[in-house]
């Protein structure tokens, strides 16, 4: 762990490390273009927000980052998506491994309803064959703490996950995704089905999580992007119009369309 981070002193200026980057990613649904030639860089352990009006392609792009489109018939993805320099779309790359290193949290909280809280959290670990009880408990505790859910469920890990509230279920989904220790966490509008109090808790969570994981978050809520992200990319009609530090994007964007969107002129 980088101890310089804990002292509160400014770090010596270093080139920001790029954890993930895309080169000319294009996603086609049959004859329609979902996303065109998107090339973005995602810095290590920063929160990157993707914003834009409905249908602009931000979710389509996000899903290309962990090869979720592999599962849909009739969708083709071209271009490269590099994780630590390796293209996840290169021939011979195993998508299952890709999805372990790049985790995802969805819009609707989706705990597996027939499993307990504990079984949900460690579901990903059991897939790779980790059975050791102590190890599982250890990871479960760590992930639930990371997701700020531990205090609320520590005494009832075996109770069904379906009994949790919406906000708790979403934090459980986050814990589940974190349990396999991904390098990057993709979040697809994680708070849009939650009430404001739950939303706030998740937003606080994101601020803390970024110390461990690189986060790429899609949100239709501009204020949320302004609150929690370090870098923002604005999508429109399948293309990235502009990308930059969040402060700049919201106060002094370069492109006129960006300005119109962030000031609420359309969207």
């Amino acid at each position: 762990m980088n101890t310089a981070m804990n002292t509160g002193m400014t770090e010596p200026a270093t080139t920001p490390r790029i954890r993930m980057e895309t080169k000319e990613i294009t996603v086609d649904y049959g004859n329609n273009r979902g996303v065109r030639n998107v090339s973005l860089e995602f810095e290590d352990r920063k929160v990157n927000a993707l914003i834009g009006p409905s249908g602009c392609g931000k979710t389509t792009f996000l899903r290309a980052l962990n090869r979720m489109h592999d599962l849909m018939r009739g969708v083709t993805v071209t271009g490269q998506a590099l994780l630590d320099g390796d293209d996840i779309y290169a021939p011979g790359v195993d998508p299952v491994t890709v999805r372990r290193r790049i985790g995802m949290v969805f819009q609707k909280p989706t705990p597996f309803p027939t499993m307990s809280i504990f079984d949900n959290v460690v579901a990903g670990l059991k897939l790779v064959g980790i059975r050791d009880r102590d190890r599982l408990l250890e990871v479960a505790e760590r992930s639930l703490k990371q997701a700020a859910l531990w205090d609320e469920v520590a005494d009832r890990l075996k109770s069904p996950a379906s009994r949790l509230s919406g906000g708790q279920q979403q934090r459980l989904s986050i814990a589940r995704a974190l349990a396999v220790e991904p390098d990057v966490l993709l979040m697809d509008e994680p708070t849009s089905s939650l009430d404001p109090a739950a939303t706030r808790r998740i937003e606080e969570l994101v601020g803390v999580l970024k110390e461990d994981v690189t986060i790429i978050i899609v949100t239709h809520n501009m204020q949320q992007a302004a609150r929690i992200s370090d870098v923002t990319s604005f999508f429109l009609d399948g293309e990235v119009i502009e990308t930059g530090p969040t402060d700049k994007m919201f106060t002094n964007p370069e492109d006129e369309r960006t300005e119109q969107y962030v000031t609420g002129r359309f969207g």
């Binding site: 195993d94 299952v96 491994t97 897939l127 790779v128 064959g129 980790i130």
Partner: protein, 287 residues
């Protein structure tokens, strides 16, 4: 865990699933093959025009056939349909269009229960209520039993078809000032018609293949009645039907009767398949 091993397990599971499916589908094809190949030779003109008579006919090479069973099936099943369709559609309408009626919960539970009851019990019901008191087995009793088999199927299918009709159709009818009953009959019913017809067809095919209830009610008859075209001849006396006759032929010791049994099987299978296809066609066209 080894990724390779996980992928292998994936493949093995797919293989098992395919194997399981073949285990089921193969016997089906084998059965159909046997029925057709064994029965086709007995499907001659005599089969459709002569009645069965006693086993001596076979021994002396006299013409024999299943005309009485075919006729019996026709008249008895038609009579069953005539009784079951109005009641079934009515009950289905009750369930779908008058959901607030207090009878509904009971009706639904009992209808579903009847649907799941073995057909033989329906035959027993008619036996105790009609055959025993009247002292005769009759085609009419058979119709009653088959009607009771058809009834819950028709009711359930009707309810399903009516429920699928969008609410806006009823609203449009009511907005025109039509009373509720006319909205149902004139606006909703036509839209649901394909589903209804399919339901009736399926019920008919199911009942047409049932033998157990008929063994207890219409019993069977080796001979054509004097007036082969008069429905009453079949309904008032013990009558023959294809499924029940198939059973008797199959358990009999005579080869020639076995052959006619297979042939009866062809007819029943053809009936089922035709109804099936027509039903599919109807539901597809209504999309």
């Amino acid at each position: 865990m080894n990724l390779q091993r996980r992928y292998w397990r994936d493949r093995i599971m797919l293989g098992l699933v395919i194997l399981a499916s073949l285990v089921v589908l193969t016997p089906l094809l084998i059965v159909i093959w046997y029925v057709v190949s064994q029965g086709i030779s007995a499907l001659n003109l005599d089969f459709f025009t002569k009645d069965l008579g006693s086993p001596t006919r076979v021994r002396f090479g006299q013409p024999t056939g299943l005309a009485q069973a075919i006729a019996g099936t026709f008249f008895i099943d038609m009579a069953a349909l005539v009784m079951a369709v109005p009641v079934g559609i009515g009950a289905g309408m009750m369930l779908a269009e008058y959901k607030e009626h207090p009878l509904n919960p009971l009706l639904r539970v009992l209808n579903d229960t009847m649907n799941g009851m073995p057909a033989i019990l329906k035959g027993l019901l008619v036996f105790t209520l009609v055959v025993r008191p009247s002292g005769t087995f009759s085609g009419f009793a058979g119709s009653l039993a088959l009607g009771i088999v058809m009834l819950p199927i028709i009711a359930r299918a009707t309810e399903g078809a009516l429920t699928l009709v969008p609410w806006s159709i009823r609203e449009a009818g009511l907005a025109l000032g039509l009373p509720r009953w006319r909205v149902i009959l004139a606006a909703v019913l036509p839209v649901a018609r394909p589903g209804l017809v399919t339901g009736v067809l399926i019920a008919f095919a199911r009942a047409a293949g049932e033998a157990a209830p008929l063994l207890l009610t219409s019993l069977g008859n080796n001979f054509l009645p004097r007036n082969a075209w008069n429905p009453l001849e079949y309904l008032t006396k013990a009558a023959d039907t294809l499924p029940q006759r198939l059973y008797s032929l199959a358990v009999s010791p005579y080869e020639e009767w076995h052959a006619m049994g297979w042939a009866a099987g062809i007819i029943l299978l053809a009936l089922v398949i035709v109804v099936f296809l027509v039903g599919r066609l109807l539901t597809r066209r209504s999309r």
